[in-house]
Amino acid sequence: RQQYVGKLRFASLEASQGSKKLIVATEKNVVAALNSRSGEILWRHVDKGTPEGAIDAMLIHGQDAITVSNAGRILRSWETNIGGLNWETSLDTGSFQMASLVGLQDVVKYVAVLKKAAVSLHYLSNGHQKWVEHLPESESTQYQLLYSHGTGVIHVLGIVPQSHLNVLTFSVEDGEITNQMRVAAPWLKSLNGGCSVVGEAVLVCMDMDTHSLYVCSLETEPEMKQIPLQSLDLEFADGFQPRILATQPNVVSASRTQFFLQLSPSHFSLLQYKHGLLSHLRDFQQAALVSFATTGEKTVAAVLTCRSELKSGSSDGLHAGSTLENSRKQDSLTCSNQTYNINLYLVETGQRLLDTTITFNLEQSGAKPQQLYIQVFLKKDDSVGYRALVQTEDHMLMFLQQPGKVVWSREESLAEVVSLEMVDLPLTGAQAELEGEFGKKADGLLGMFLKRLSSQLILLQAWTAHLWKMFYDARKPRSQIKNEINIDNLARDEFNLQKMMVMVTASGKLFGIESSSGTIVWKQYLRNVRPGCSFKLMVQRTTAHFPHPPQCTLLVKDKETKMSFLYVFNPIFGKRSQVVPPVLKRPVLQTLLLPIMDQDYAKVLLLIDDEYKVTAFPATKNVLRQLEEIAHSIFFYLVDAEQGKLSGFRLKKDLTTEESWEVIIPTDVQRIVSVKGKRSNEHVHSQGRVMGDRSVLYKSLNPNLLAVVTESTDTHHERTFIGIYLIDGVTGRIIHSSVQKKAKGPVHIVHSENWVVYQYWNTKARRNEFTVLELYEGTEQYNATAFSSLDRPILPQVLQQSYIFPSAISAMEATITERGITSRHLLIGLPSGAILSLPKALLDPRRPEIPTEQSREENLIPYSPDVQIHAERFINYNQTVSRMTGIYTAPSGLESTCLVVAYGLDIYQTRVYPSKQFDVLKDDYDYVLISSVLFGLVFATMITKRLAQVKLLNRAWR
């Protein structure tokens, strides 16, 4: 199991040298503390994954971390050392704007929360509300800023766009409005970003149109002073919304008078406003990120820049998909050599501090830094030391120390895995040699014999080397032996239990993770993937075809531009493949991986675009010829959830398609939620079930069957329903349809063999229910040798039964094994983080209500409506997986064993044995006893034989 927190939204590093933790609040609605020495999670609290749990603000004061979540509805205070909850209060409704700590006479006692229509003050110690005040004219005025600096008043700034500013001053003691000002600002549209409070309650705003700064004191003058930027020799970049970054090191004292003005994506300048004068301290060209940090009396500014010559805009590096290039134009800056510097500057003067450079390299990932947090401390000789936390575009957290040493790094993009495949590891060199021998063409008897001898010799050599290594290792103490896993010694084990997990994350980063230890073997960041892309990962060639490297293909489709590209890579080493994928000119709608192979043993991938034309990849002559031969048996189905349309297409010989069927599900009543086909690598060993009277009930194993789930658009609990349609993907025939009244989603569905299991919420009985559908052909098989959807005169019998499940579920999947002999289990991820392994036999629609002789003969369990959760069926014990989004199962080399990966915020991998380990000798198998008995018996027979001979001889002599 590996735990993650997700992409950072807020972070706070403690400002003392000895501190060991940093508090983060992330976009995954997680509050956590990380150990700053090792990067491990000290504690973690996971809130709801929905927007209800979203963290809007985090404030740190001493040992307390204050978070505001659920759109300003809940205020919480955490104890940062152990992660306990100090207190929690709920706030009034109203859209949240800002929270801030309020201090009075050098003590921070309150936290103030600004809502759209009210401002409230809470005690920091227990969360009780001190006062709440409604803001005047809250209909027209947008209150957006809150400021206090220890003078016993709170300033609340509201804005009427394009008209004026409203400045309210509240007294901390009783919440009375002591002062109300109206400042005309006809140019101002919003306070966020463009405005900030610096110094002693001085508001600085900027205006794009007139290229000038406006300054106004909140306490005294009710007017804006205009300062044109030209007087500072500065200019805004076109089309960029400038920002002001200010800092307030201590809430009881005033803000720093210095602030950063971001003029363009890569241009910052440090300005100072003191005693009514605006002065320019330093200019930072080509800076990527800036940040303030304070220790003691000193406040420093950290600036992240590129090391050497720079090049702004897009550099189309190693990635495909030049169509997405345009979108990269607005980027802050790209370093050509991916090396960055962090420098510290003293804020008062803008001087650079000596020996404060951190240089680090992001060559491997190719991602740009996105956020920078600095932890500054004073060294013993009064100089400034610091550590930096950098988050890059691919959600990687790096903790850096002077001079450029990476203390730790965390791959937080793994908190959001979208797609996962498991690929067999390659054979070892010696095994590969042996395989290669059989793969090649025969060249004479003698030659083959010699080759065989040589490969046997190599095997012997490898074996002796292995023995020698074992002997060598055995002499070392156990603690020193580490199971190091790197690319060189990745090899398949005897039963193929270790595999390579290829994970695609939402940030566009690909990972190759070794499944038994969880080490990240390779990672690759796809730079031109924007958030919100849809991915589809396919394994085109496994490791079984030795001289050819394995090959995976990732289809990335941008949600906005609808354009897609293919990324072909080697799943073991993570390298980009030499094979050139076709350039896709039209948006791809769907893909189909065919079982036919080209001469290099790569499976053929068909891509259907929005003109319903098909592109084949790889598109060699051989493939096209094969395609032409079997084109009549290739069908596509496309499901358009927006229009509620399912349509089937038939492939023609010239790689165009024609529509063959269409099913319309009216969108005003119900909408399609999910479509599940069967897994292509699924084997079913048994074609039927033996009944009590020893006849056979044949399963209806339609490989083209689709299960379509719809939910009603009407969500009223009396009228809501879900619908299940079983549709043949070739002919479009609806084999079964059922509507479950008074049922509500989210529906989780598993479709495998001849059964479909789905789970929903029953609104009438207020409980979760499972329904299982099984399809049988009856006691006669229509056509035992070939299955064709076009020739099915008899509809299958559908049996169904429902069960009550005591918990909601977050993910569901069925186990899968190599040959399908092992009985199936359902793996159910519960919201508590546990994974329940439920035998499919418990969800069997043939469970009788009254057990009869025959059903007992069949080993059917009598029907009982409730399925219980037994804690001993949890396969992950205490290793809970927070916010599980999916479970992936893969067969292993052993028939009894199925590999399971559960992913969500955490990643957990294990093996399950649905029918126990019937093909493995038990751990306590007594080798010694059995072999000694065997040897003893052999020995005894030999002795008795000898004795008998002697006796015979003696008798003969007599």
Binding site: Q590, Q687, V730
Partner: protein, 100 residues
């Protein structure tokens, strides 16, 4: 025979052994047909006696087989061959799904 009837059709070790014995005896007797015939050489109606011996033993064997069948030990039903039924070959390939 009566014991056979009493033993019922359940499969457990004793009835199974009895059925085995019941089947094996006539088989053994049939194997030793020639020796029996030799012993009967002196008899005048040799052929008839031999025939009766043969038919009797056959009857015993048939009875044993019937018993086996009744106990469900003979693989005569399709369910007994289910494990050897090959999965049908699929004629069409489909693929697709929700529009990406």
């Amino acid at each position: 025979l009566f014991i056979m009837y009493m033993a019922g059709n359940t499969i457990s070790i004793f009835p199974a052994m009895m059925v085995c014995m019941m089947g094996w005896r006539p088989l053994q007797a049939l194997m030793s047909l020639s020796t029996t015939l030799k012993a009967l050489e002196s008899s005048s109606r040799r052929a008839l006696q031999g025939l009766v011996f043969l038919v009797g033993n056959r009857l015993g064997l048939a009875l044993a087989l019937y018993k086996c069948q009744a106990m469900g030990l003979l693989p005569t039903r399709p369910s007994d061959w289910l494990a050897f039924v090959a999965p049908p070959q699929r004629m069409e390939f489909t693929g697709g799904g929700l529009i990406l």
